[in-house]
Symmetry: D2
Subunit: 146 residues, 4 copies
């Protein structure tokens, strides 16, 4: 779990965290999460394997303010041949203040999609969190009826 | 239509625009679009009316690089009592390179949701782009089968 | 002259532009200024010539707020064999609200300092603004006695 | 000492940390440093005491790359009635890769400069690092002769 304080750089003149900056917390969380299960993105890149973000959905539930402390929890909930999906929760005081899903696609040096290497893919599969996919259909990006 | 060049600050070490920075282009686009239809967000804030982002979906189609020139096209496709939805396309050489949808919710100074003022809401309604909602169901955030 | 509005993304919870974001305005200004005198940084990079920032001084004079419109004026005031220096003013309503100086050093693909190509250097020299260097010694970065 | 990894969000298409992002590391470092000596900026703000950055000098010595781990060391080297100065070093593998100095000025809610409260100022004074000021005159912002 990635943990950080909210600094001025994360906020905007509305007094709360600027919406794009959630995606920065989330990058840090997935980087550290993947590292914790044995996947170093920089090392894979050195070997010619790149993961790029293809789709993102983000739901902001409760505002975050300067000086707050948050943790971000990242889970893997779907692994296919050429992509995988993660869900992320931004937590403050044991409450989810934001939810996010990201689809990451594997590409080669020239930007062409390619199969994830077996070792990379196996580590992802071993860490799939059951039940996540169901929740994911609930928290789908832009809800039209609230 | 908001237009900009891609600068170093927009890119990352992968050589392309960093995913969170799309949301920055999109904020600038909706600000200028709303201004062009007679809605100044800073003026409404001075009057105690705030619009916050509640949900975002982002689809990255094609990478953007340092020195590229893009335009962002913003349309309104749904207006309710307390929120409205916009779609955004990031265009390079007449091709969509990214798509985004945002749901904006009206709140008061204390963060409580509230009805949008009539004048604000009427200007939005007069500028709804027909046919956008249909497209929106296609470009729903995180596609699971591509 | 680069001109922009101040958006939420530029500000922080103090209600004003976040200090690091001045350097983003300034990058855009020097990019456009160099372009205007016939120097395209992306094209020179394609030819193996890179310019990196080596030193920066920044003086914040007056705060900028959400919705403000600013222009940034960039001038070249010193050109040597392997580096050149620019000064930048962030202007609102004809008043300087921030001043900055940057030293840019020429490097090759491996990060080694190298002479600037003659064509590149000549264009810089033809556009040196006289009198700038004098001012620069006044606005030196971190003043200790104010 | 604030410590972090370098993520994609910190870098640019040149493959290295983008120059403005150093100021973000440095904000985090001074926030945590001041916290460690008993000064919580958010708490002082709640009491109507604000510290703003007035001047910055930044010297980039060696590039930082995706996946690198850095620490930032912050020291106080000058405390006056209404402002104080800090120096910051960005360290990788026991080597300084960047140096920075910042002047912070005390203001009230309306942006007017004011004396720092005694308790605030005393804590700063008790933590002045001797010898820093001397070094500071050496690393003055934008050197003209290298």
């Amino acid at each position: 779990m990635y943990s950080t304080r909210i600094y001025y750089q994360d906020t905007d003149a509305g007094g709360v965290v600027y919406y794009a900056n959630y995606l920065k917390f989330i990058e840090k969380s997935w980087f550290e999460y993947l590292m914790s299960i044995g996947i170093s993105i920089p090392e894979w890149e050195a070997a010619g394997v790149y993961m790029i973000v293809k789709n993102v959905s983000l739901d902001l539930i409760e505002s975050l303010r300067y000086g707050d402390t948050i943790t971000v929890a990242t889970d893997i909930f779907l692994v296919k041949n050429a992509y995988f999906m993660m869900s992320h929760r931004v937590i403050k005081d044991n409450k989810s203040t934001a939810r996010c899903e990201t689809k990451m696609v594997c590409i080669d040096k020239n930007g062409k999609p390619k199969r994830m290497p077996e070792d990379f893919r196996n580590k992802l599969i071993q860490n799939i969190k059951n039940g996540q996919q169901m929740r994911s259909s609930i928290t789908r990006s832009v809800s039209r009826d609230s």
